[in-house]
């Protein structure tokens, strides 16, 4: 979009430090926690009132399921049931649930990075198939060949968990390219972490997506740490939403602790993609409670920092709002949680009982 | 410690062999299993391989000369090792020389002088005993029975290459085309017991025929010998034994047959042996496998050292093992490692049959039922209990006569059971 770029005032250039604050405003500054929490609840309440109860229940259920599932993963990982890398999503549930419940499952695609368990389940892969995959069993969603980082399901339009930081941004752009090529009205949700923004593929992909007007929603899950390196130590211009400007693309900052806000922003971006065939970049600020992976001791941040974020936990916030809006009472919350807990136990049991893949599988699926 | 090379048994019927060519000369290094000489047996020209690695220190039987089975034909040891003591020992102990093959005295030894008188072969000198040869040339040489030591390599560093072998073969072909030139002369025999002979190299075609025929009949070239045995006295013998025993202890005719076979085996070591490519393994004892039919098929529990056991003991053991076999409780060591087997289908009324050898055993006896039939005897017709026994023999170790002699002994023991006690 060179025309739009030309319209941009010189004073708005990111290279002019005086004219523009390049430090992002951290809306989650722990010191402003309470004020922000109340403000967020107010806007969430407004959205809840416009939303169908069954959907709200499904969203809450998926968030709780994701939380319990990941907590259970940590337990069985420590028992040696899960091998390799295991990246947990605890704290970020509002992003997957808010965004993926906004898609049309019949025609839209989802592609994600390696922190993919919860996104896979929200997209429709059963907790059993995900847990069995983590166990490396034949009944896993990719037959025990991918593991934690590589969950796929063609049936559910889930184009995989990908392990090379940023790689799926390009592949996701290709999915959107195919959707446009076939003119099938589909949209791709492409998830990645904020550290992937520093990869060349991010910039190459966003450039072409805007150039060719591809129906894609780039969702940057900014959990503020690329492994152990905080955003501020790794990114010269730490305002990711504004990087969309470089490509003349629509960019928006979203509160990733607010599932309704994520859903709202994603719905708008999907509409833009579906109706106008335009891409968007959403920077969704969230916070992961756990280490980068199970082998991360987390020495790069304080316990206090994590605790302050947990006070505004996305599930607590959502439950508070739902209660205040009178959608659910405590006993209903209890029921939903019990249902999720039971499902996770069933998934673990299924994974435990499933057989390992036959050794014949070693050399299958290398080529068609 | 230097060790002796004995003339090995290279064919089932071989009693002596003639060294047609030494593939190694004195001072050459030899590797375990490496061919060291070609030996003409009564049947074929065979390769004789080294049973250990070392240096060929002494050739005692020159090319063209014959040696009895087990005769010392050379000495292998470490380079430069002193073998004078062994030579002296061989010379002084000619009558006491025992071999692992036959308990026969060795032939008088060739002296070192005799050896040196033999014309030397046309070998080329190769440093350190190593021959450099391309893989295809080595294979062609092996296929045509060419001794690489006789070939001069034209490749880099004297490497023998395909071209060298081809040239050599072309010469041989050329010679074959004018057979009239070859003198039809018989060489006088070196050993008195052998007829004069004439040598002719076997052709590739002949060797191919030999290999193909062997392939055609399978890994164990088997033949069958059948004998009729009069069992009247054995039956009587059994009854006599059983009068002294309780009902559970009673012995069967088969128990007596097992005992007779074990005793006969002791007299015929080739039947109680096993063919192992480069050697024959003779067993000290007769461990007899007795075929037992079970629901799933067949299993042969083994009566160990049956030659050393009494009939009662054998009988008791067979009963126990058969019971355990039917209960599928046998341990592998209880049904593997027999030296000889017996399959008895007499109780099914089978008159005569052949059984399949259970490798690596050399033979199996197929025992039919003892049937009362009229027999012509001294001009009269008499009724006797006749039992047909067929032995399947591995021809690689057992020859027709060897097998026949065993059956003769076996028959004699059953027809006169008292002889078993002698």
């Amino acid at each position: 979009m060179p025309k739009e770029a030309a319209k941009t005032k010189r004073s708005d250039s990111p290279f002019n430090h005086k004219a523009r604050a390049i430090e992002p405003v951290d809306v989650f500054d722990p010191d402003e926690a309470q004020a922000e929490y109340l403000k967020r609840k107010k806007s969430q309440l407004a959205l809840i009132k416009k939303t169908d109860k069954a959907l709200l229940e499904e969203m809450l259920y998926q968030m709780i399921l994701g939380r319990i599932f990941e907590e259970r993963c940590a337990e069985v990982y420590r028992l040696g049931k899960i091998g390799g890398f295991c990246h947990l999503y605890i704290g970020q549930e509002a992003v997957a649930v808010g965004a993926i419940t906004a898609i049309d499952k019949k025609r839209d695609y989802v592609i994600v990075a390696y922190r993919d368990h919860v996104q896979a389940m929200v997209a429709g892969i059963s907790p059993e198939a995900v847990m069995a995959e983590l166990y490396g069993k034949a009944t896993g969603c990719v037959k025990g060949k991918g593991g934690s980082m590589h969950l796929f399901s063609k049936e559910h339009g889930f184009f995989g968990g990908h392990g090379i930081v940023g790689g799926q941004i390009g592949v996701g752009t290709g999915l959107a390219f195919a959707q446009k090529y076939r003119n099938d009205g589909g949209v791709t949700l492409c998830f990645f972490g904020e550290a992937a923004v520093n990869q060349g593929i991010f910039h190459e992909s966003l450039n072409m997506a805007q150039l060719w007007k591809l129906p894609i929603v780039y969702i940057c899950e900014n959990n503020q740490y690329g492994m152990g390196t905080s955003l501020k130590r790794a990114m010269s211009l730490a305002n990711i939403a504004r990087k969309a400007d470089s490509y003349g693309m629509y960019g928006e900052f979203v509160d990733g602790m607010d599932v309704m806000a994520v859903r709202q922003a994603t719905m708008k971006a999907i509409e833009r993609a579906r109706n106008e065939s335009l891409p968007s970049l959403l920077e969704v600020r969230c916070y992961r409670y756990m280490g980068h992976s199970m082998s991360d001791p987390g020495k790069y941040r304080t316990v206090e920092e994590i605790k302050k974020y947990q006070q505004r936990d996305p599930i607590l916030l959502f439950k508070d709002s739902l209660k205040e809006a009178g959608v659910f009472d405590d006993s209903e919350f209890e029921q939903i949680e019990q249902r999720a807990r039971k499902r996770v136990e069933e998934a673990v049991e299924f994974a435990e009982k499933s057989p390992f893949p036959s050794e014949d599988e070693l050399l299958t699926d290398v080529l068609v | 410690m230097a060790s002796k090379i004995f003339m090995p048994k290279l064919s089932p019927t071989m009693e002596e062999g003639q060294i047609s060519r030494w593939l190694k000369k004195e001072g050459d290094e030899v590797q375990l299993n490496e061919p060291i000489a070609e030996v003409d047996t009564d049947k074929a020209t065979m390769e004789m391989t080294a049973l250990e690695s070392g240096v060929l220190l002494k050739i005692l039987v020159p090319e063209g000369a014959s040696a009895k089975l087990g005769q010392i034909i050379g000495i292998i040891g470490k380079k430069g090792e002193d073998i004078s003591q062994i030579l002296a020992e061989i010379n002084s102990a000619e009558s006491a020389e025992k071999t692992s093959f036959e308990k026969e005295p060795a032939q008088p030894l060739e002296t070192a002088e005799t050896v040196s008188e033999q014309p030397s072969t046309s070998t080329t000198t190769v440093e350190d005993g190593r021959i450099f040869v391309s893989p295809i040339a080595a294979r062609m040489a092996a296929e045509h029975g060419i001794d690489l030591k006789t070939v001069k390599g034209s490749g880099p560093g004297g490497r023998i290459i395909k071209r060298d072998i081809e040239q050599l073969l072309a010469k041989v072909e050329h010679k074959k085309e004018i057979p009239a030139v070859l003198p039809q002369v018989f060489k006088p025999a070196e050993a008195t017991s052998v007829s004069a002979y004439r040598e002719e190299a076997t052709t590739p075609m002949r060797r191919t025929i030999a290999t193909r025929l062997a392939q055609s009949i399978g890994p164990i070239p088997t033949f069958y010998l059948t004998v009729e045995i009069e069992m009247d006295r054995a039956i009587e013998f059994r009854q006599q034994i059983n009068t002294r025993l309780t009902e559970e202890e009673k012995v069967s005719l088969n128990d007596i047959i097992v005992k007779a076979a074990a005793m006969a085996l002791m007299k015929h070591p080739f039947v109680n042996s096993s063919y192992r490519d480069d050697k024959i393994r003779f067993y000290e004892d007769a461990d007899i496998g007795v075929a037992v039919a079970i629901d799933e098929g067949l299993i042969t529990p083994v009566i160990r050292k049956a030659n050393r056991k009494g009939i009662l003991e054998i009988s008791r053991e067979i009963k126990q093992l058969a019971t355990r076999a039917r209960e599928k409780k046998l341990q592998p060591e209880e049904y593997t490692g027999a030296t000889f087997s017996i399959s008895n289908l007499g109780m099914f009324g089978i008159k005569q049959f052949t059984a399949i050898i259970n490798p690596p055993e050399a033979a199996i006896l197929a025992v039919g039922s003892a049937m009362q039939i009229p027999v012509a005897r001294n001009g009269n017709v008499e009724i006797h209990s006749i039992m047909h026994v067929t032995m399947s023999c591995d021809h690689r170790v057992i020859d027709g006569a060897t097998g026949a002699r065993f059956l003769q002994t076996f028959k004699q023991m059953l027809e006169d059971p008292i002889s078993m006690l002698l």
Binding site: - | I136, A137, I161
Partner: protein, 327 residues
């Protein structure tokens, strides 16, 4: 049959496949409006338009990724690298994504994509533009690697590659684009991947050559026959992976000698692989050590004489054949 250059044979293959299958599209730098940096895609944009023939920014990693994603979603992209040297920028997408997607997804997502472009040396273009990369790509399970040496092979193999359901690395050679040969015009003409072709029958020595080295090996074979009476068999594997080792082994069993000629570097290369496999499968048939002729163990120099010295040529092949034939 018509006599075509390899460039036109490739162009014909692309055109026929674009016509045959709506899912096929061509993407790369200068493939559309410029008619292709080496004119392989000449006329295709005019005929098929923006949707099917797409110019990209200079973003090799990015457009390779778009190809992978589009293939995952069921399209059949043909991605052109202006030269294979630039594919190294996209190696993450080719090796980490295209080659592994089918396996990682437990057989759910195959990647029917062709990456193509000129590979190997050109005319004095120096170190960063003269690399032959087949050994690198052939090392990874999940990729097929194809290297045609004649116009007919180029057409038949490219059509098979586009119809193949796996990622195919299709390595052309700039110096061969102008070579002419008879090319079948039947739109159903294809050559199966994984089948070698004996380009010249012989009985004394096998020369395995591919891509650019095939015509050089054929010239060398003529010269050796004339000057030394040695008859060479020239085997062109055409597909490096899967490799038709049987045809090579059968030839070596006949000739007992093997010379392998390649434009890539020697260390851990395709010739090394063929050598190892022949050792395993035909050791007893060899009359001489297998001889390899590869590019020099140095980046490609610019100077004309140095460049020539770095590459395989007729004289080097003749010398190698003489050596293995003990002449």
């Amino acid at each position: 049959m018509a006599e075509l250059t390899m460039r036109d044979a490739l162009n014909q293959a692309l055109r026929e496949e674009l016509l045959r299958d709506e899912r096929v599209f061509i993407m790369g730098e200068e493939v559309a409006q410029y008619d292709g940096a080496y004119k392989v895609t000449r006329g295709l944009w005019r005929e098929f338009g923006d949707k099917r023939v797409i110019d990209t920014p200079i973003s090799e990693l990015g457009f390779a990724a778009i190809g992978v994603g589009a293939a995952m979603a069921g399209l059949r992209p043909v991605i052109e690298f202006m030269t294979w040297n630039f594919s190294i920028l996209a190696a993450d997408q080719i090796i980490n994504h295209a080659a592994k997607m089918l396996y990682m997804s437990g057989g759910q997502f195959n990647i029917p994509i062709v990456f193509r472009g000129p590979n190997g040396s050109a005319y004095q273009v120096s170190s960063q533009h003269s690399q032959a990369l087949e050994a690198m790509y052939a090392n990874f399970p999940g990729l097929k690697v194809v290297m045609p040496s004649t116009p007919a092979d180029a057409k038949g193999l490219l059509k098979s590659a586009i119809r193949d359901d796996n990622p195919v690395i299709f390595l052309e050679q700039e110096k061969l684009y102008g070579t002419k040969g008879e090319v079948p015009d039947d739109p159903d003409f294809t050559i199966p991947l994984g089948v070698a072709d004996v380009k010249r029958q012989g009985k004394d020595c096998t020369i395995v050559a591919r891509s650019l080295t095939v015509p050089i090996a054929l010239q060398a074979a003529e010269k050796i026959e004339k000057e030394y009476g040695v008859s060479c068999e020239v085997v062109d594997p055409r597909t490096i992976k899967p490799l038709d080792i049987d045809t090579i082994v059968n030839s070596v069993k006949k000739t007992n000698r093997l010379v392998i000629v390649e434009e890539s570097h020697q260390f851990c290369g395709v010739a090394a692989e063929i050598t190892a496999q022949v050792n395993e499968k035909a050791f007893d048939y060899l009359d001489a050590p297998i001889k390899r002729i590869s590019s020099a163990e140095a980046p490609m120099p610019y100077a004309r004489n140095l460049e020539a010295a770095a590459l395989p040529d007729v004289a080097k092949i003749v010398a190698a054949v003489k050596e293995v034939c003990y002449l």
